[in-house]
Symmetry: C2
Subunit: 208 residues, 2 copies
């Protein structure tokens, strides 16, 4: 499992000439790091004077952030596996007509999974952004830059995941699937960009 | 050392109620992941047909990306140590006038280091972005989304690092230091944003 590697080792494997893990796994990890920073900000606020009225909300946000981090870390490995699945389909026999048909179907199935995986990452990165957005004005002001970094990591994960959706969708023949997915990623990116900008504005105005 | 932890463990420690590691270390890690994706893209292009004329340039970019990744990974740990240095200065004795003076000086020294650390991260994240920008049109088109993700990670690292500069600069009294640093981060952000947008545009137009 990739997440069992040391950070240093993960970095080395990522930089190697193997296509997996690649951008999809990095997008998932980026979202997880964003979720962890949200957890940290919640933990550094719960029990602090002046924030008493937000404690229940913060405890809920902490729980959600921890769940999102775990799920996104799983996706670091899942995305690399999905990519290997596509590669395996390409290596299938193509001698007989039946071979060719099975191979073609397996490739299409592989690409759909290779779209679903980063789509799931994008959705959860947006969830992390929404969580971070809800903490504005309700969390420890000493950790305001951490909330900013959380939103940047989650947004980079969201944008990166949508690029992985786009590159894989170009190999899919199912028009309905393409149109539904394309419209979903536009919506995700639009909301994500709005929330990220709101957080950036708040943090910039209130930092220090 | 933080980078010796497994990815999963790093995520857990980050999400805990300890302020270090925090956003600064995450910004450095984000930049390192961007550099690793640049390395991967170079490795997936060197030796590929159609890209022969770029091989020398790609080999140089690969070397630079590997150096940047190593340096940024070191900064993951350094940034956490610098933060602990500031905390240690705050805990110094403040009984006598001399105590108070020493403590004040140590705090100012600590904050200056806490500015230099993310400033170094921001500079290297911009170097990663510049490297990624130079690969447009010269690298394996199957790895175009990875080049996009590389730029997003490096930009998130750059933006995140500058937030850490800003939060720590607010505690510094040296006006010249403040003005020089503020002007440098504006320049870094401006160029970074431009390069990131150029990459996003190119990737979006050429993906698939």
């Amino acid at each position: 499992m990739l997440v069992k590697l040391s950070v240093e080792e993960f970095s080395r494997v990522l930089g190697s000439n193997s296509p997996a893990p690649g951008g999809g796994s990095v997008a998932a990890l980026s979202g997880a790091l964003g979720a962890d920073l949200v957890s940290m900000v919640c933990s550094l606020t719960i029990g602090e004077k002046g924030y008493e009225s937000f404690h229940i909300e913060l405890a809920e946000a902490l729980k959600k952030a921890q769940t999102l981090s775990k799920s996104l870390l799983k996706r670091v490995d899942l995305d690399a596996e999905v990519f290997n699945g596509v590669m395996a389909a390409f290596k299938m026999a193509k001698e007989t007509e039946e071979d060719k048909k099975s191979r073609k179907e397996a490739i299409q199935k592989g690409f759909k999974e290779a779209v679903q995986s980063p789509l799931g990452i994008a959705r959860e990165c947006l969830d992390v952004l929404r969580l971070a957005g809800k903490l504005l004005g309700k969390s420890n002001s000493n950790a305001l830059s951490d909330l900013g970094v959380a939103s940047q990591q989650a947004y980079a994960g969201l944008e990166g995941a949508t690029m992985n959706v786009k590159i894989n969708i170009s190999s899919i023949k199912d028009e309905d699937f393409i149109s539904e997915t394309s419209s979903e990623i536009s919506i995700l990116l639009e909301e994500g960009s709005r929330v990220k900008n709101d957080i950036y504005k708040y943090v910039s105005e209130n930092i220090g």
